[in-house]
């Protein structure tokens, strides 16, 4: 597969702070690449550098094999961006907003009308055509933001935290829409600090922190990097401290915590840890409400790599 984006040795500094530190990566045609990292990790700065909105100190950026510059209009024509902040005109209706931004790319009025309606349909906004942005809920606004960025059917789409502060229903709608875009052949760069989203959506993930790539690969590849193999969570109303201390002696246990009546036990390896823990609790007459087992998440990977939580 061809490289749609090639970033090489990209370094961006704000005064003395390195926001992006010698970053190199590629994005293949047709894939969804997730840039995962906490706030301030350099995700948006990287995108803004790629889009030639920001000056950078070092490095090169190629899109579709060509160097990206502010006047690379032929490249810009093939790009769509959904920014973290809602980028719409308060003075225009939903339809006019999408039509305006689509019109910056598509001259033909009939084709544009078709594209605008398709974008509104994809974003689930057909019933809100005549609404003004201030009349929309936060979730609908985010969907409008997406419709404005993708109406012209770009081949390369950047989505910069499109689901921040969005209700679950709108989030699902947005994620479904992004899958459709990928199915229609678009290459997507998706930044977020929500690990669940990248796990659901992305073919490949780059974990960023302090402007550097910590790890990259598929979700499964990355989970291999985690120091734990299983995490079991149990809701317990009461447990003696002496019993708690015995948990450390169970086989494969790496660590455990007991906070707010929730016991979390992390295991380094092993696949039958759940049965053993249930037996241990029964043996010690500990009653529990819910118990469930999880494989390591990307947050655990991030924790293993940096020693801090992804959402810290």
């Amino acid at each position: 597969m061809k490289n749609v984006i090639e970033v090489k040795d990209l370094t961006k500094e704000y005064k003395k702070l390195k926001a992006v530190d010698d970053l190199s990566f590629e994005v293949k045609e047709g894939e969804i690449l997730g840039l995962l990292g906490p706030n301030g990790s350099g995700k948006s700065t990287t995108i803004n550098c790629i889009l030639s909105l920001l000056n950078f100190q070092k490095g090169s950026i190629k899109i579709f094999g060509k160097e990206m510059k502010p006047d690379s209009y032929d490249l810009k024509r093939q790009i769509g961006v959904i920014f973290q902040e809602v980028a719409v005109f308060e003075e225009l209706t939903v339809y006019d907003n999408v039509d305006y931004f689509c019109g910056l790319y598509i001259n033909d009025k009939k084709l544009r009308e078709k594209y605008v309606n398709e974008a509104l349909e994809l974003a689930g906004l057909l019933d809100y055509k005549k609404f003004y942005p201030k009349q929309l809920s936060g979730g609908l606004l985010r969907r409008l933001n997406i419709a404005c960025g993708i109406a012209h059917k770009p081949k390369l789409i950047f989505l910069d935290e499109p689901t921040v502060a969005v209700d679950p229903q709108s989030r699902n709608n947005i994620l479904e829409g992004i899958k459709k875009l990928r199915d229609n052949g678009a290459t997507i760069v998706y930044t977020t600090h929500y690990m669940e989203e990248v796990e659901i959506l992305c073919d490949r993930i780059i974990i960023l922190d302090k402007g550097k790539i910590l790890a990259s690969g598929t979700a499964s590849d990355l989970k291999e990097l985690s120091e734990i193999d299983e995490k079991i969570t149990v809701e317990i109303s009461e447990i003696d401290e002496s019993i708690l201390n015995e948990i450390n002696n169970l086989e494969n246990v790496d660590d455990f915590t007991f906070e707010m009546n929730v016991l979390t036990v992390k295991y380094k390896k092993g696949k039958n840890n759940l049965g053993e823990l249930i037996n241990f609790l029964k043996k010690n007459n500990v009653t529990y409400n819910k118990i469930f087992s999880e494989r390591p998440t990307l947050n655990d990977v991030f924790l293993s790599l940096t020693g801090k939580e992804l959402r810290d």
Binding site: Y14, N48, L51, S52, L53, L54, N55, K69, P70, D71, Y73, D74, K76, R77, I79, V81, F83, E85, V86, A87, V88, F89, E91, L92, D96, Y100, F101, G103, L104, Y105, N107, C148, G149
Partner: protein
Amino acid sequence: MFWHNFKYSLKVLFKSKVLIFWTFAFPILMGIFFNLAFSDIENSEKLDVIDIAVVKSDEFDKNIIFKEAFKNLSDGDDKLFDIDYTNLDKAKQLLEDDKITGYLVFNDDINIVVSSSGINETILKYVVNEISSNAEMINTLAANDINNEIKKGNYNINYEEIYAGAYKLVSKDTAKLHNISNKNLSYTMIEYYTLIAMACLYGGILSMYIINYKLANMNSVGKRTAISPVHRGQMLVSSLLASYVVQLIGLAILFVFTISVLNVDYGDNLPMIILLALAGSLAGLSLGVIVATLIKANENAKTGILIAITMLGCFLSGMMGITMKYIVDTNVPLVNMINPASMITDGFYALYYYSTLDRFIFDIVSLLVFSILLIFISYFGLRRQKYDSI
């Protein structure tokens, strides 16, 4: 793309209630205020005939042009000056006693002596400057005629006849001084002209508002627009054109309102005043564009800077008191040469004080050059704009 951006820029501007208030409603409210405040003094506040003195001297006697011009200016019902031809001591005394605005002394040069700065002093200075520029023209024409006579071998030259001929040639220009009338010149009218001029310049808020939507460092819409494949020049000009249309509609409403509701009489000068307002509006809009593109600050700060520049320009141009124009013209003429507010006020005064349009046209051209220059600078500032931070 050009008309697409133009159409939506118009929509955005017309939908912005704040802009509509400042562009359409505020000038009308100010007009109503002026009407209420000045209507009672409209008839009594015509400028008085200006008392001046001319110190008699051989130099003045030889200066045919000035003598003729002053004769015209102190004749008839609509005369501008009452002139006392006297000696230097008496002129000084008259000035000291506050009986005259100033006096003129003709030596190698023409000295204007005044004791204070005000509208009468400014008028005196303008008129003398104008006559001087005509005098130079007459002298040049006469010198050419004299050279021609010498080339023909005619050394018996009738200088008086040649100067009279040159004077006749320029008499169209000097004749305008016959028509200088103070009968329309009232403080109320000056306030209405000031209102028009300020409305022109405050159009900069319109262009700044719409251009801010094209700048990635201003807002998220700007970021989205900046990554679109539309040429920056196209975006700039179509946005500017949209703000110009809105500004002109605002001005048209202001003119219609002042004429039909407030019964303001712009007289024969109305087409020229409209022309000046068109050029002045372009200057105001280009000022807004350059502030938007070149100054790196947030929207509120930019608005503050634009208003501050406009207010300062208006102040220095004499819109808030004509004395300031006189002081600036005398001490730092360069400031008002690049001050669009001064170009507009100067254009209005030119319509009042000169019947030919030379100076008025000069002001119009100055405003256009100023506007084009600012738009070009803005374009080059915008063309390949990348930011250090957004």
